[in-house]
Subunit: 335 residues, 4 copies
């Protein structure tokens, strides 16, 4: 950490800071400048809680050099991680994974049809939501456990591992029973209690970026899971909230190569939720793969126009099959 | 809802839309324009789920006229609500409520000292966190139930009702036992399961705005609580995330008069979390009251420089007493 | 335009609105709903200025259906435009154009070296800034006209058309003399006087998106140029300002397929300014091409470590040559 | 500046950085940490251009301690500045200045009526736009020089100094002739050439914050003017662009006390443009004054419903008179 003093800070103020840093068991190294003094803080093993320091007289600002995460960082774990979900592998050295399926699980028939389409197109995993976070309480909220069963059965019928969102701790055991991979939704990315409980399982986790989360916060959220002992984490970029409203969110594809440099964890992209527009899903899926994503998750629905949720961003089975052909050619080219 | 067709949409496409709207049990009213056709949708009793429509050929966009909330709206409940927290009243016709106390509950002594300072300064409620959401897992996470006891005892010692955050459903019964008011933190504003459970109690709730929540989403979150039967909701503006980093968040004070017009629920302001800077708390507290806030919540700590969390934004007891004098004069003036 | 009335608006208020709309020479079509009345406005040939209407009693909001642009819209000009810059063509049916060169023009030697590297790598146009917008007045501000000469001579030496930024109207004649294409920088995207003057020439224009401009504002800025008679406009996405600071801006690649659908104008991407990190330029360039960009502009400097401006985002000549090999393979694949 | 090295940076890389810093005539002070090395850069007289350094191997990031401005900083000019506009004084020790008038100058009659209303209400300065920046080219663009004459005559008729926007350098002489204060609009805050030319005059300047400008960029823009020798600068907060669309922009009132601490320049607030809603102007004007603003600028129009521009945010003369009564009482209270 670097402590920057005010231009007019006195020597006494500087000395008081140094004493406070040493009280924390750390070393203070003054760096006198021509305009102001800065004080380097040394000896910390990670992120320093600077609340005490920032309040002392003469301090203009504190600047963190360490990050609020460590185990997810490539600095401390240089080798890329591979996450195995019932035989499907996410990470360097493996082909990108295509996850597809409807936003919401609606009926058994719908899920069997979706699974067949995903399999036929060449997808490797099936998705579907049984518990749905919806902005208003008057919208469809999901089928619950009944839906989980449909999901599992549909996945098994085609040999596709399944991923679904877990929204609260009490659902965790149940969801673990039916799902091969747990999804933490964007709204729960900083639901730290849920992250910790998920971290106590060894179930693979798909952690979606919060809609206003910085990369630093995203990685720190993964650290919560890893710190509890669960290393099976796949990150997922799904768009951030900005002033632009023409798309539902702003897909931040640069995060893919950045996260690949900063962390050893795999990262995939969800263009359906990011853009909110079916028309953009194929092209942004391919852009994500070229950007280095370890996979793409997209919404596919047997009958998008009748979907109870987010039909506007769902591909039909035929759309999906056509896109998969293009994706497979692109992956051939990239290899 | 208004459905806007593409410039080149055909008559067949318009007819298909009309049929789809009627299938939903609603009425479609075409509005032919010189450049394009729009179709008004009538007969809905609230927010229309437009996923089906948006996917049909010829549709350029759908525009919602109804909002995803209803019971929190002043349209449907014109009289301002007053929320009573163990005798302290939030709402029109009552003096703004000052809530103060430390960010985190650290020790029994700290809480008794804080309660004495809050009471001496003229505050009406005591706050303190027993369960702390922290960005990284390596920071102090709160004292838990032990902390709740300190908070309750300290509040009772001075006759101050207490408010504290509930972070997960399993904590709800316990927190209800010790706290007079439940706080839903910004990170949980869209934790819909938690909102619903809180809605099943009749405990007063302080609902903080999510850091990237629109006003519409903020009110829709309150609707989740109200829809379950709990009308005792106080809203709290605490800053939104923007590109500006000089303050921790950007305090959006305009939301106060806006929410007062749009909803019957009371709204208070938290300048400590919004700005992250102690220096800004007094001035922004007063600005919030002039903007019409029904209360202000601020961090006060017996020894801010030693606070385990957010000391940089905490006032000392003496700071608080001085500020309360100014606030009381301001409230006298405003009345 | 749709005018949405308050829930409790009276019949008199609705009638007053209808009268006001008719005063504007337009037609008002009331759409009575179960909760509120809306009024459709018909007969307008474009964007309606709603200032008058929004102020009348009973109005809750006005919703624009028409856009503040028309000539740039694909609705009114369905065929994709091709922009010719001294023989280099931007647009559908032509290979994407690679524009490269240093951020700032520093010396004649630097520009000749850069031009040789761009040509050798396979770039089709040369860029370089003679007038530099810099956040603070104490940074290098550019070489001015001397720089323009270096740019033109260097471009000619390799047969590369050149593009450079024009920052003020008085520079326009001079820049037109030396440059084959005029760049309007992000900070000037809404410098409407400059746009109009550029619109009076027939010089090809590269219009960069403002850092907080919506797509609608971006297209409306292009409309300023087109409305004056200059159709030779190439749009350029260069990142938008968001809360994320790990990259300089957030590259919004979804804008590429969106603009291609909404407008007939070609659009290219500048990953150097968007990301601010050299490491991200190659991968995001390729992602941009897959997303459908009609070109990519990137910073290449003979000696990035010695660059007077933005060296951190510049590729060396060798980096550029290696990237161009990958890009050419990708373009072969895409065709 | 602080240079933070990668975790695995070698000693050779650290030595290369030190050499590069010394080549710049500065001193490098290595600060070895337990996890990584940082290097302090000393001896600079201001902002260091770090482009060269950031590109060297082993560097993770550079952190600026100096700011891109100096003369506008209170560090270097501790005494608050007072700006005198034809006898009206902005700054500490003077009553806040109320500037009012229409968005656009429309007719001579309108301006004389507006001036009379502003004077009658107790406003001290008259505003009005002769050159209007409008998002689309098909909107009213202003009366030009004819409008400037109306503005000046109307102001003189009531003894009110006048302020109006200058949009391009060629207008500068003309605008100086008619206006007592030059306004730089939000879209031109980083039109550095215009800032420099305005800096060469000694005319008082009202510099509006850009809609996505950080405080640092805002002060750096003022530095451009000051660096040319013109110290007569009044800053103006007018809302920033965020994801929230219920208000036109998000009024960032915290910037007022922050700028007052960071700079010696006076700062005022424009609640009309910030909120875009007439209903919010009175309450946010008062909040701004309590936050410490040295003035408020608001839109007042003799007939808001007939305004050619932004009528929705304009007060009528009667509204203004009522608000001024409240403001005067508030100012009495604050003193």
């Amino acid at each position: 950490m670097l402590i920057v003093m005010h231009h007019q800070a006195t020597k006494e103020q500087v000395d008081q800071i140094i004493a406070a840093v040493e009280l924390m068991g750390l070393t203070a190294e003054p760096i006198p400048g021509s305009l102001r003094t800065a004080i380097g803080v040394l000896g910390n093993q990670g992120y320093v809680d600077d609340a005490t320091i920032r309040t002392l007289p003469g301090v203009r600002e504190t600047i963190h050099v360490s990050k609020p995460y460590k185990m997810v960082s490539r600095d401390f774990h240089p080798v890329s991680s591979v996450v195995d979900v019932a035989g499907v592998k996410f990470g360097d050295g493996h082909l990108p994974v295509i996850i597809a399926g409807p936003c919401s699980i609606e009926t058994s028939e719908q899920m069997f049809a979706a699974a067949a389409e995903v399999k036929a197109g060449g997808g490797q995993m099936l998705r579907g939501g049984a518990f749905k976070p919806r902005t208003g309480p008057h919208s469809f909220q999901g089928l619950g456990v009944e839906g989980l069963k449909y999901l599992q059965q549909a996945g098994r019928s085609q040999g596709l591992p399944v991923v679904t969102e877990v929204m609260r701790i009490e659902q965790l055991d149940t969801v673990c029973q039916y799902a091969d991979m747990l999804q933490i939704g964007a709204r729960n990315m900083q639901n730290f209690d849920l992250l910790k409980e998920v971290g106590k399982t060894r179930h693979p986790v798909l952690l979606k970026r919060g809609m206003s989360a910085t990369i630093e916060e995203f990685l720190a959220a993964a650290e919560y899971i890893l710190a509890e002992g669960n290393p099976n984490i796949v990150l997922c970029e799904r768009g951030i909230r900005t002033f632009e409203k023409e798309t539902r969110n702003t897909l931040d594809l640069s995060v893919v190569p950045l996260v690949r440099e900063m962390s050893h964890l795999p990262i995939i992209v969800d263009p359906s939720h990011a853009t909110g527009k079916r028309m953009l899903v194929p092209v942004m899926s391919k852009a994500a793969l070229v950007a280095g994503a370890h996979g793409v998750m997209m919404e596919v629905h047997p009958n998008p126009a009748m979907a109870l949720c987010d039909g506007a961003q769902s591909l039909s089975g035929a759309d999906f099959a056509a896109l998969m052909q293009e994706i497979n050619q692109l992956l051939d080219f990239l290899n």
